[in-house]
């Protein structure tokens, strides 16, 4: 009888743990969204931020976040997918492959602040660029690369062996098989992984503090010349992203409406990350349906 009571108690504890975790999530999300929605308005999203006065928006920070994300992905996706192809198709078991695997593991486990420091050393000081979007994007590439490599490798490995063997049996070379058979079949899961990684990059701040900086120059959105100082497209300008903005107004800010600005920004950030997640699932399931015969 005693062991049955213990069993009941233990079950109760496990259910309680599950309830605690769900309520943590519900609490966090409702707090962020309820407090944030009050402050999100078209005006908040389209006015530039202010350093001293109340009523600043997040226009530039929002643009910077997406722009840095775009540049990061332009660098990281080809590198990561290439690395994934190498690991899945070319790497032979042995010392070199083990080394590469350890390198990926090390990169994946580095704290983002350490990557930020590396970025500060190499992309800011050694190159002499100062705080730039490009420096930030390169730091984020280091941060993001292991994720994309792992996703691509796993997706390519899960392509059925028959497909690859059939293609090779038709006399098609290895690289051509990778291009025309393996990559298209692995495409849905690679894309899903990349979008999820993009969500992570979007919310990252510690790696950007010392690489993309804490300020944004006055931007002129009519200026599309990427080499102009005021152009939003210039990749050699400092850029404060949304996540960094939340941190800086809370720890170093002088504005009186810190709470309002950070509530609004936090909600925008969380909603964006949420959208990335939903988009990843949605696109993943749709492409899988299109490419395979499953309903």
């Amino acid at each position: 009888m005693k062991s049955k009571t213990a069993d009941r108690i233990a079950t109760g504890v496990f259910v309680a743990i599950a309830i605690i975790i769900v309520s943590i999530l519900v609490g966090l999300f409702s707090y962020i969204l309820i407090n944030g929605f009050k402050h999100i308005s078209w005006e908040f999203l389209t006015t530039p931020s202010s350093n001293i006065r109340a009523g600043g928006g997040i226009r530039d920070q929002l643009f910077n976040s997406f722009y840095i994300l775009l540049i990061t992905m332009i660098i990281a996706v080809p590198l990561g997918v290439g690395g994934g192809i190498y690991m899945a198709e070319y790497a032979k078991p042995g010392k070199i492959t083990d080394t590469i695997r350890s390198c990926i593991e090390v990169l994946a486990s580095l704290p983002s602040i350490v990557i930020g420091m590396f970025g500060l050393l190499v992309f800011v000081n050694v190159t002499g660029w100062g705080y730039t979007i490009l420096g930030g994007a390169l730091a984020l590439t280091v941060f993001n690369l292991p994720v994309i490599v792992r996703v691509s490798e796993d997706s390519i490995r899960t392509v059925p062996r028959d497909l690859k063997e059939a293609s090779l049996a038709l006399g098609i070379t290895h690289w051509h098989t990778i291009k025309t058979v393996l990559l298209p079949s692995a495409f849905p899961s690679i894309l899903t992984g990349i979008i999820l990684a993009a969500g992570r990059v979007f919310g990252e701040a510690a790696a950007l503090l010392f690489t993309a900086g804490l300020s944004t120059p006055r931007l002129d959105y009519a200026n599309w010349n990427p080499f102009s100082e005021q152009s939003p497209l210039n990749i050699f300008r400092p850029a404060e992203t949304l996540a960094v903005h939340i941190w800086s107004v809370n720890t170093q800010g002088l504005i009186p409406d810190v709470e309002a600005v950070s509530n609004g920004s936090a909600a925008v950030l969380v909603i964006s990350v949420l959208l990335f997640n939903l988009l990843a699932r949605w696109i993943g399931s749709i492409i899988t349906k299109k490419m395979t015969a499953t309903k």
Partner: protein
């Protein structure tokens, strides 16, 4: 959606088509083996290049941070023993600057272990709930919950800690609110999803006959979990906790916003404190590059790097035990 996806796919194919020039069939047949071999080589070189870039990134991070981090000991003559064991941090004192980083090293370890102490039971409990208690609906609810928790950016955790947790601790527990306790709670929520998802994998990969054998002997579910499943999955569960701790150790901004950032050794859990990461974030921006104080910050970064290597070795050790 059809409109959306297909152009992307055809775009990718289109790019490849442009790269392979379109030539008449006869010539293509004659040249084909050579062309194919060229493409083969080009492709191989391309992906090997990607792999090389990855290795060189890792090696250059280690070398750059290593040399920069050692400079304060080699060039500036800061004593390594003092750096690691002294509790006096006063780099701005002109006459007698002191570089004892022990309070921050201690803070990092304290907050990491305390966070793991909370998050490990919760995470492993959630994993057991998902795999043993309610494998069908429990998993359907908790899996997305865990994924959403991973997705919340760390600054948002820090901000909520700052606006909700810190005033709460100040009002109901005591102290200033900025404390080890707040840091520990924020971190434990942050590492909870890491621990949960890896522990779930560890529990889920246990062979079915373990459970069935135990139930067949008349054991209750709790006895099965406690005596059979947890010991069998132990290396995997420990890996989950270590990975969570590695994340907690390196987390910077969220902790920095709630821990108070003082340079003294905390005497209780309600005292404000500081960690290696928080001191780096706070001071890196406004110390002169190349100064002694700045160099000691790089030494702290080196400690973070070394610790992340140590965590990897620990995980390697644990997973080698799992294979046995």
């Amino acid at each position: 959606m059809q409109i959306c996806i297909y152009p992307i796919m055809t775009y990718f194919r289109g790019v490849w088509c442009i790269m392979e020039k379109i030539i008449p069939a006869k010539e293509r047949l004659i040249k084909s083996s050579k062309n194919r071999m060229d493409g083969e080589l080009r492709g191989k070189i391309l992906v090997i290049l990607c792999a090389v870039i990855m290795i060189s990134a890792t090696i250059s991070i280690t070398i750059f941070l290593g040399t920069k981090g050692l400079q304060s000991f080699i060039k500036n003559g800061v004593s390594l023993i003092e750096f690691l064991t002294s509790t006096h941090w006063n780099p701005t004192n002109q006459a007698n600057p002191e570089y004892g980083a022990l309070p921050f090293i201690f803070g990092s370890f304290a907050v990491t272990f305390l966070a793991a102490l909370i998050a490990a039971p919760l995470g492993i409990g959630a994993a057991i709930f998902m795999t043993e208690i309610a494998p069908s609906w429990g998993r359907k609810i908790l899996q997305p919950v865990v994924e959403l928790l991973v997705g919340i950016p760390s600054v948002v955790y820090g901000f909520i800690g700052l606006t909700v947790l810190v005033p709460f601790v100040r009002a109901h527990v005591g102290g200033l609110g900025f404390s080890l306790l707040s840091g520990m709670i924020v971190l434990s929520v942050m590492i909870l999803p890491t621990i949960t998802s890896i522990a779930t994998d560890a529990m889920g990969s246990l062979p079915k006959y373990l459970r069935e054998g135990s139930y067949a002997l008349g054991a209750t579910r709790w006895q099965t979990i406690r005596k059979v499943l947890i010991p069998a999955a132990l290396p995997g569960l420990l890996t989950a906790v270590v990975l969570g701790m590695a994340r907690a150790f390196g987390e910077a901004l969220a902790v920095q916003m709630v821990i108070g950032n003082v340079r003294n050794l905390p005497s209780s859990i309600l005292d404000a404190s500081a960690t290696l990461t928080t001191i780096i974030t706070l001071n890196m921006g406004h110390t002169t590059y190349g100064s002694v104080e700045n160099n000691t910050l790089w030494s702290m970064g080196l400690i973070l790097l070394v610790m992340s290597f140590a965590f990897i070795l620990l995980i390697r050790y644990l997973s080698s035990r799992r294979k046995l």
